[in-house]
């Protein structure tokens, strides 16, 4: 391995505290650090204000504090084509997309990685909470040490080739330690609020945002037995297991979204958090990335997550082909949602993941989930 001072590391800087500290730590380790801000979305409002500008100004402040060069790169077109189009298409199909997974796969660790490499970089670093460990010839992606912040769920599509070129300088730190480092060094972003929500929507109203791109088609809320319980504003505004915003009163337990019928534009609702309709015992996944490089050929047991920050649950995985697999849950799971990612783990090692396509119960697909 080259000496750090001869090793160029491009850091993807968002203007947030995590990537600021990632850059700082690399600089302290003596690397040739270059900060780059990615502009993926134009959210300029009618007053000419765009949050990208404010974030970029924070990047400038931090890079000046660290005395490293900084640049920006525009991936608006790629983001629109690869991430936003997918995002809308999934909603149109009645599924719940995961744009963060897609952004990591297509933009941050593809287009942006290529850009970094074209700048003579040896590595691309980001402020993600995850770790990379070299084990023989293989690169293993491990969960971030801060279990509450671990972001391997969103990084499940990273290949061996990508893992060989990335650094996650925050992987061994807790979020509070990251904040402490930033405060110790008086970084401009030390007390900046973490960004929330999907990056291109930000703090805005999700419904309002989506309605600008997809026509909302209001329809009926019904029980599976066909009893009309109210009106919905458009299927895309609801996710499986959701309780808020249904507006169904009456006696008994609260109401939850239990399914969608895209063809007839019906939102299925049922009573009770533990409504049986919300439970399934397996799934089928596609577009699986095996992060260790090789697709398994035989069934194996491991743990899985079906959504970010969920506790792992034991599963048995049966590969169908290199990118498809069946996943059986050892215990029934609530509100596993088509379009979201299923991510597999062997203890601390992330084995990769894929997109949830079908939900299975008693060996049958359940079609009412969308």
């Amino acid at each position: 391995m080259k000496d750090p001072k001869d090793t160029r590391v491009v850091v993807g800087m968002s203007g947030g505290v995590d990537s600021s500290v990632a850059a700082l730590l690399l600089k302290e380790q003596g690397y040739d650090v270059v900060g780059i801000f990615m502009k993926n979305w134009d959210d300029t409002d009618e007053n000419g204000v765009c949050t990208a500008t404010e974030d970029y100004e924070d990047v400038i402040r931090v890079c000046n504090q660290l005395d490293i060069p900084y640049y920006a790169v525009n991936f608006e077109k790629q983001y629109w084509d690869k991430v936003f189009t997918y995002f809308l298409n999934e909603y149109k199909a009645g599924r719940t997309p995961n744009p963060d997974v897609m952004c990591n796969k297509e933009i941050k660790f593809k287009a942006f990685l290529d850009h970094a490499m074209s700048l003579g970089a040896d590595y691309l670093a980001t402020g993600h909470y995850a770790q990379v460990r070299k084990n023989g010839d293989r690169y293993e992606m491990l969960r971030g040490k801060d279990n509450n912040k671990d972001q391997t769920y969103f990084l499940n599509q990273l290949s061996q080739d990508v893992l060989s070129k990335v650094m996650f300088p925050l992987g061994h730190l807790d979020k509070s330690e990251v904040r402490d480092v930033a405060k110790e060094h008086d970084l401009a972003t030390a007390t900046k609020k973490d960004s929330t929500g999907i990056c291109f929507i930000g703090e805005r109203n999700f419904k309002e945002f989506l309605s600008q791109y997809l026509p909302a088609q209001p329809g009926n809320m019904e029980t599976m037995e066909g009893e009309v319980k109210g009106k919905h504003d458009g299927l895309m505004y609801y996710t499986l297991g959701q309780r808020q915003g249904l507006g169904i009163g009456g006696p008994g337990e609260p109401w939850f979204v239990v399914g969608k019928n895209v063809e007839d534009n019906i939102l299925y609702v049922g009573q009770g958090y533990h409504n049986d309709l919300l439970y399934s015992d397996g799934l089928e996944a596609s577009e699986i990335n095996w992060a260790l490089g090789e697709a398994p050929t035989e069934a194996f047991t491991c743990t899985a997550k079906f959504r970010y920050r969920q506790e792992d649950t034991p599963v048995t995985v049966t590969p169908v082909d290199e990118t498809h697999a069946k996943v059986e849950f050892h215990e029934p799971q609530r509100a596993v949602t088509p379009g979201q990612a299923v991510v597999l783990y062997d203890n601390e090692v992330c084995l990769g993941g894929g997109t949830i396509d079908e939900i299975v119960k008693n060996n049958e697909y359940i079609s009412y989930v969308g």
Partner: protein
């Protein structure tokens, strides 16, 4: 590694002589030129001397020079001020698609306020046609604004010809001559212009000062309101030291104009010859009518952001179009006007501009570094 500066069209280094001339003014001449005491008179003299130097350099009268905070303010004053001052004669304005934003954005603002603006197209060489201008001229046209030298490509517009075309027309003629000053003959009578924009920092003067020439009798509405400085056309306490530095830069520019232009011509040739020698695939954007200080090159298949970042990391300062507030490079409106929407050249071209910070050695070294980057990128892409 000493970085090499090829971005003189963005801004140029200030001459040592200019700094030396300015320091004593900043230290000792602190009076307000409008004051009615000895301190004021001392400052007023320096200001008027500077005004005289500028006026003489373009064949104008001293009272026709309005000092501003720079080229942008002078352009705004010319376009907005002339439009507002002459709207009783009509509300039609003609400009070009390749103007600096300091003209384009005021023109867009005037459209919002009810004026009608025609943007003349340019050909692939970046030039407007006199026939187009004639075709667009109307009885109610009150202002024509065409830049002398384009800041991105260096192409030179036929200003004298436009001036002659407008001789019998009511329309005022404004030219943004910021990039032309020092590179081309600039006599307001010969060009038949009514308004002309100048800037100090492009000719190795200080930043923060420019000037507008406004021919005697031109009706010009001030764009700021305050004191009665600059014959009521530009309020605010005058920047005496900067005006003095501006004048010094003009004098230096006049002194060695011929040799300097020859030197810049040599730089440009050496730069391009070196790229050819290194067998780099490139094409020049723009035709043969251009200034020696600016060259805009298209590198087929390469992306402008990748190019500029690589150049900078290897110690080469160049540029392209304008940056957006979030740092990324905006597609150039000038190249878009020349080549049409979607043309590859818009996103794979870089401007190099030469000047005081260059020597034959660093021009050649810089060209070799550019070649090295291009080779590396074409190998990997």
């Amino acid at each position: 590694m000493n970085p090499i500066y090829f971005d003189h069209a963005a801004t140029a280094p200030i001459s040592n002589e200019v700094v030396e001339a300015m320091v004593p003014v900043m230290q000792d001449v602190y009076g307000n030129p409008s004051s009615v005491h000895s301190f004021g008179r001392k400052a007023r003299k320096i200001l008027d001397d500077a005004r005289n130097v500028l006026a003489t350099s373009i064949g104008a009268q001293e009272k026709d020079i309005i000092f501003t905070s720079g080229g942008t303010e002078a352009d705004n004053l010319a376009v907005m001020g002339a439009a507002k001052g002459n709207q009783h004669l009509g509300k039609h304005i003609i400009t070009t698609a390749i103007e600096h934003h300091a003209v384009l954005h005021p023109a867009e603002q005037l459209e919002v306020e009810g004026f009608e603006v025609t943007y003349l197209p340019v050909n692939e060489a970046g030039l407007i046609s006199i026939d187009d201008l004639k075709a667009e001229l109307r009885e109610d046209t009150i202002l024509v604004s065409v830049m002398y030298v384009n800041n991105e490509t260096g192409s030179i517009q036929p200003i004298a010809e436009i001036g002659a075309t407008l001789a019998e027309h009511q329309a005022l003629f404004h030219t943004d001559a910021v990039q032309a000053y020092g590179a081309l003959p600039l006599q307001v009578d010969a060009l038949n212009v009514d308004l002309l924009t100048l800037s100090a920092h492009k000719i190795n003067g200080p930043k923060g000062i420019g000037a507008l020439y406004a021919k005697d009798g031109v009706s010009l509405h001030p764009q700021q309101h305050g004191g009665e400085q600059e014959r009521k056309r530009r309020p605010g306490t005058e920047n005496t030291a900067a005006a003095h530095g501006f004048a010094k830069a003009v004098e230096l520019m006049k002194e060695n104009q011929k040799e300097r232009l020859q030197t810049h011509k040599r730089y440009k040739k050496l730069f391009l010859d070196t790229l050819k020698e290194e067998e780099i695939d490139f094409a020049i954007n723009g035709g043969r009518i251009n200034v020696p200080t600016i060259v805009n090159l298209h590198f087929p298949g390469l992306n402008v952001e990748t190019l500029l970042t690589n150049f900078d990391l290897d110690g080469i300062a160049a540029s392209s179009g304008s940056a957006c507030t979030a740092g990324s490079v905006e597609p150039s409106h000038v190249l878009r006007a020349m080549f049409g929407e979607g043309d590859e050249r818009i996103t794979s071209s870089v401007r190099f501009s030469f000047g005081l910070a260059n020597t034959e050695e660093n021009v050649q070294e810089g060209a070799r570094k550019v070649a090295k980057v291009i080779r590396r990128l074409t190998k990997t892409s």
